[in-house]
Symmetry: C2
């Protein structure tokens, strides 16, 4: 049963802009201040529901000299952009299991501009993820659990994970296609499964798609049709490797009049074209098809692109041997 239809409004939909966070993986989070300020303002105008500013990464593990400030998302850096954030848009950050000093770096919500903390985990680090969820919940934040790379996991393990996370105070389960390997048919089935567990535990479901096989947008709107509510997108699809679901596709698709694609086009005209000209690299291309088709981490395709290689057949053999 699909929820809603192509001409109606689904009130549960939440668009989550992840441009700074996933896009930051393409430029080590060195975004110009006016880029970030305009993105914030354009997202508000576009009707975006959450804007993710970046990671809450540990300064013990990552050298702050080597990354832009959105790798760390100090509250004062977010405040410099959003002030008291007197807008309907909420602020999100991501905490990576094992790469975050959450006890030290994530304090009470009452003192922070952040609303939502998205906890990214692999399936084998569930207990650590649960601890972060509990901490963030106690501090007063909304939370989501983003289980990465599930295209490599067994269904029974994913179900076990959803049962464990269902019993935590986490608000949202996120279906994450880290390798851009899922086909729409699979995304529809996976969405059904996540939704079944979400219903059991009173959670909502989100989707974060990658564009390796030119399916990020298709997978996102198919998940939406199944009943998924939280939809990740980035401006021009900026994100690691093949990138993400494009905001200009998603926002232009949604029929709720609160969404408006024009400010997204403004961000593209004013800032994104310059990033492209400056040589920041991301987006759908042949090497990512190869890793996506083989359900492989995109790192070999990213290295291939960086080296300006064009021997696609050799890459295919290399990835085949790796898997």
């Amino acid at each position: 049963m699909s929820k809603g239809n192509l001409l109606s409004v689904r009130e549960d939909v939440r668009v989550v802009d992840a441009t700074l966070r996933d896009g930051g993986l393409c430029n080590d989070f060195f975004f110009a201040d006016d880029f970030v300020q305009d993105l914030y303002e354009n997202n508000v105008k576009a009707g975006v529901d959450y804007m993710e500013f970046g990671y809450k990464a540990s300064k013990q593990i990552f050298d702050p000299e080597k990354f832009g400030k959105w790798k760390f998302c100090d509250d004062e850096d977010i405040r410099a952009v959003v002030g008291e954030n007197n807008t309907p848009m909420k602020i999100a950050v991501m905490a990576d299991v094992g790469r975050c000093d959450y006890k030290k770096d994530i304090g009470p919500k009452s003192e922070s501009p952040v609303d939502l903390i998205r906890i990214a985990t692999y399936i084998h680090t569930i207990p650590a993820a649960c601890e972060i969820i509990e901490h963030c919940h106690k501090m007063g934040y909304e939370t989501s659990i983003n289980i990465m790379a599930v295209s490599k996991n067994r269904t029974e393990d994913i179900q076990a994970a959803l049962d464990i996370f269902g019993q935590t105070p986490v608000d949202t389960f996120y279906l994450v296609d880290s390798y851009g390997a899922f086909y729409p048919e699979e995304i529809r089935k996976m969405s059904k499964m996540y939704l079944e567990y979400a219903e059991k535990y009173g959670k909502s479901v989100g989707i974060h798609a990658h564009n390796n096989q030119s399916l990020a947008f298709a997978n996102t709107i198919d998940a939406l049709q199944e009943g998924v509510s939280y939809l990740d997108s980035t401006v021009m699809g900026m994100g690691r490797g093949a990138g993400n679901c494009q905001s200009e596709l998603l926002i232009g698709f949604l029929k709720n009049p609160k969404y408006n694609v024009e400010p997204i086009l403004a961000q593209i005209e004013t800032h994104m074209m310059k990033l492209v000209e400056d040589g920041v690299k991301w987006g759908f291309d042949i090497p990512y098809i190869i890793t996506g088709q083989m359900n492989s981490h995109p790192r070999s395709a990213i290295a291939f692109q960086k080296a300006n290689r064009k021997d696609y057949r050799t890459l295919r053999l290399e990835v085949f041997d790796m898997e």
Copy 2:
């Protein structure tokens, strides 16, 4: 009910390479001879079922000085590439209603290397299309009817058209998303409808998708899942405007071991990169999103690209006013 599953083989599948035909719209059909020869050989190796060489365009209407030979597809030009075509791959050409001297230019199949004639029509030129179908059938060819731009047509009119074509000797109904406007949810419904009429009249169904909204591949494999058999693709998606479903995505997706993506990658390495470097333009980009979202002919986006414009917001207002 979906047909087959993601790991099995669907024996009814036919991959139709339309690189020269739809791609020819990007370079006025001026392909180098070795490009065409290698494409033919790579398609055979890749397991492609049909290769479309171009149009059977009228030399009264189109000046042969101004176009490459694949705008006209003389039998001897095809023979120079395929010889007796002693391969499992069949040869196709396209005849456009109103732009083809079919009585003069389409002779007996027994004297031609062509197997399939694809007849392209708008919904308001059905009687003329029927005459071409009858002629080609009498001459001994397989035929398909490609009803273009149906995203602008009323469902009742499409159904009436399928009833008329059902009573001709045409072999295949083609669902054509000329404007790249259909979402997967709609393609699934449209496929069901085309298949219902096809079953009634003993025809098969094909799909020709455009990539304006980055949905060409998704729409193609969703149609496949519904039961559509003939799947159009082009190497690197080469085709008018945003282009088509990419062969490297489609062939890499299909599980029948007769299909092999490597020769497609070879064509990309050897020839397609050069076309791109030579400045031939096609492929997914912001302006095509704008016309696709508004179900508008891509011509305004193509002109925008040619003029090297980047004022996307203005284009959006222009297209909005046009529709």
